[in-house]
């Protein structure tokens, strides 16, 4: 046991790191910002409020949202190795944005987000429906299937974009980056906070869902309804992230796996932790991307591709000690 004490220590450590990294994120950037002149200098204050604060908020929202979406996805699929970017969700969202851009070029961002959510919902539902027929005895088959499925959709998206000369635009959505985030251009991400709140509200039912359909129905949980709700949460968070900053891989996979090893699988207690650590991960990777080749920036999607894939390999090959 000792899970509770361990998770308390983890929460404390994560909160302190979050504070430090948030301060770093506010003061690291191309324009040098001196904390001492912040109050006196209106330009500095403007930079802070128009760029640095929105960027940091966007990271907080996207990081926690994606990590929790991954957790919900894993609960629904009953498999530790799937997440929105490896199960066709993000690719579905990109497909939606691409279609809107082709057919209704002057659609508002909100309309784009709505369509992207719908297509993401479609592709994720198909994935879950197919994935539930896979045998539970082979845990690695589902992520494998998801990767090929997502790859096929992604290839289709790239092909359509190539045919319609939108390849450069699609790159922006397929590789997440926070450098374009300014005041007035990220506020849509607050909707992910609603999705996260929803996940927290139904956390107990989601935990029961992870026991499977029969057990959930036996315990009085409307399984189908919960599945629909979970799908909306996962697709909503993924689509909004893709629309505002672009796809960010592996957050939803690595963080829940890590947290579950330390704090177990009761979603009521793990959701805050997953959100917190997801935020930390994205924040750290974004700051690293800003510093690696200062004053140029490396997209957070690229940094996380390396860090996340490496962590995924470690998770795959390092078996937990307590079986």
């Amino acid at each position: 046991m000792g899970g509770r004490a361990a998770s308390m220590r983890l929460v404390a450590g994560a909160l302190i790191s979050l504070l430090v990294l948030t301060l770093c994120s506010l003061f690291v950037g191309v324009s040098v910002l001196d904390p001492r002149h912040l109050i006196a200098d209106p330009d500095a204050m403007n930079l802070m409020l128009a760029s640095r604060v929105p960027r940091t908020l966007a990271i907080l929202l996207a990081g926690s949202g994606l990590a929790i979406a991954g957790l919900v996805m894993q609960t629904m699929a009953r498999n530790r190795f799937v997440e929105p970017s490896t199960a066709g969700t993000m690719q579905g969202a990109a497909l939606g944005i691409l279609l809107v851009t082709i057919f209704v070029p002057d659609a508002s961002v909100l309309a784009k987000a709505a369509i992207a959510t719908l297509t993401a919902l479609g592709t994720t539902s198909v994935f879950l429906a197919l994935a539930q027929r896979l045998p539970p005895t082979q845990p690695f088959l589902m992520p494998l299937f998801g990767l090929v499925y997502g790859g096929v959709i992604g290839a289709g998206v790239t092909y359509i974009a190539w045919q319609t000369d939108l390849l450069q635009l699609i790159e922006v959505w397929l590789n997440g980056e926070f450098s374009g985030v300014l005041r007035g251009r990220y506020e849509l991400l607050w909707i992910t906070a609603i999705c996260v709140a929803l996940a927290w509200y139904v956390a107990d039912r989601l935990t029961i869902m992870s026991l499977g359909r029969e057990a959930s129905v036996g315990l009085g949980v409307d399984y189908t309804r919960m599945l629909q709700l979970g799908l909306v949460i996962v697709s909503g968070v993924s689509a909004l992230t893709v629309v505002v900053v672009g796809a960010i891989p592996f957050v939803g996979l690595v963080v829940p796996a890590l947290v579950s090893r330390i704090a177990g699988d009761n979603l009521r207690s793990t959701i805050p932790l997953v959100g917190l650590i997801g935020t930390l991960l994205v924040l750290a990777c974004d700051i690293a991307g800003r510093l690696l080749r200062y004053p140029y920036e490396i997209p957070v999607g690229t940094v996380l591709g390396v860090v996340g894939a490496f962590a995924f390999l470690v998770i795959l090959h390092a078996r937990p000690r307590h079986g």
Partner: protein, 326 residues
């Protein structure tokens, strides 16, 4: 299909006829590629097409041989080097080399030196990465998944390094990371040709050893084979062949899998003396045939390569699910 899977040996004359037939069809397709729709300065066009054909045949043969050998040493018929991330590894080696030497140093280096540097780097990496997995007899699904993630890791690493190097060096690289059959570098064609020929010859010489390895590790060791040494050597061979095909044509995810699956159905034999030539022949037919069709007006070259890749992807899923049931 059932009798093919049961492992009952097909009558030898049938298998041999299959080899001859595949090679004949491959030769016919090559002739079709060379001689249809000739117009204008025939000598010039033929020369151009010949160099293109040599490139295509090299790519086809090295993909087919490397896939067959890789499947044999990993002991299953669903893996291919590119599924295990080997061509992404090659691109990573290329990027790493540019990063280490700078864009100018890289561009001024003779292509054959560059190529050998990349091949050496690739051989080193692939032994370090895959040999432990082969030794530990990892679960097949886990191995494939690891390969997928490794491929992703290498692509991300390449992207990361590409961001770190300056734009000129990046432009040198960019041409290499998409599959294309339009033009081949002549000097690379010679070097790659030598490497492919040596590799193919080696695989052919050791075809009986491959038959023994296909029986599985324990049986092979029981029959007196130095398993570790052979598998290391064969892995190096695969790395060199993948490097050749990727250097010439860029990454092709599912072509090897498609070709070998087809070849297996055709020749109904697990013997490498049959499987190697048939796979190479089928690869030539598919690749050169696709290019011929593209030129004769059935869609552009890109469309054809996309279709080939899509078919390969479906074959992958089909084998994955069929294997699960069996």
């Amino acid at each position: 299909m059932a009798e093919a899977m049961a492992g009952t040996p097909a009558p030898p004359h049938r298998s041999r006829r299959m080899v001859v037939a595949t090679c004949a069809i491959a030769a016919a397709v090559c002739a079709l590629f060379l001689f249809t729709g000739l117009r204008g300065n025939i000598g010039f066009v033929l020369g151009l097409r010949l160099s293109q054909l040599i490139g295509l045949v090299q790519v086809a043969v090295s993909i087919a041989i490397s896939t067959v050998v890789f499947q044999t040493i990993t002991g299953n018929r669903i893996l291919s080097p590119s599924i295990m991330g080997l061509d992404a590894l090659y691109l990573f080696c290329q990027t790493a080399l540019v990063f280490a030497m700078g864009g100018f140093g890289y561009a001024t280096l003779p292509p054959s030196w560059k190529f050998f540097g990349e091949v050496a780097l690739m051989m080193a990496f692939s032994t370090v990465l895959f040999l432990p997995m082969l030794r530990r007899r990892t679960d097949m699904m886990l191995m494939i998944l690891t390969g997928f993630v490794l491929g992703f890791l290498f692509r991300s690493l390449s992207a990361l390094i590409a961001r770190l190097i300056d734009p000129n060096a990046f432009a040198v690289l960019q041409g290499a990371s998409f599959a294309s059959f339009q033009s081949f570098d002549d000097r690379l064609l010679v070097v790659g040709g030598v490497l492919t020929a040596c590799g193919t010859l080696f695989a052919w010489r050791v075809r009986h050893v491959l038959d023994v390895i296909a029986l599985g590790r324990d049986a092979a060791i029981g029959l007196g084979l130095d398993w570790n040494r052979w598998v290391t050597g064969l892995l190096l061979l695969v790395a060199a062949l993948v490097a050749t095909s990727t250097a010439l044509a860029g990454p092709l995810a599912f072509l090897g899998l498609l070709v070998v699956a087809l070849a297996e159905r055709l020749c109904a034999s697990q013997r490498h003396g049959i499987l190697l030539p048939v796979a190479a022949g089928v690869a030539i037919v598919v690749l050169v045939g696709a290019q011929t069709m593209a030129r004769m007006g059935f869609g552009s070259a890109v469309v054809v390569s996309v279709i080939v890749e899509f078919m390969g992807g479906f074959v992958f899923l089909a084998i994955l699910f069929a294997r699960r049931r069996g």
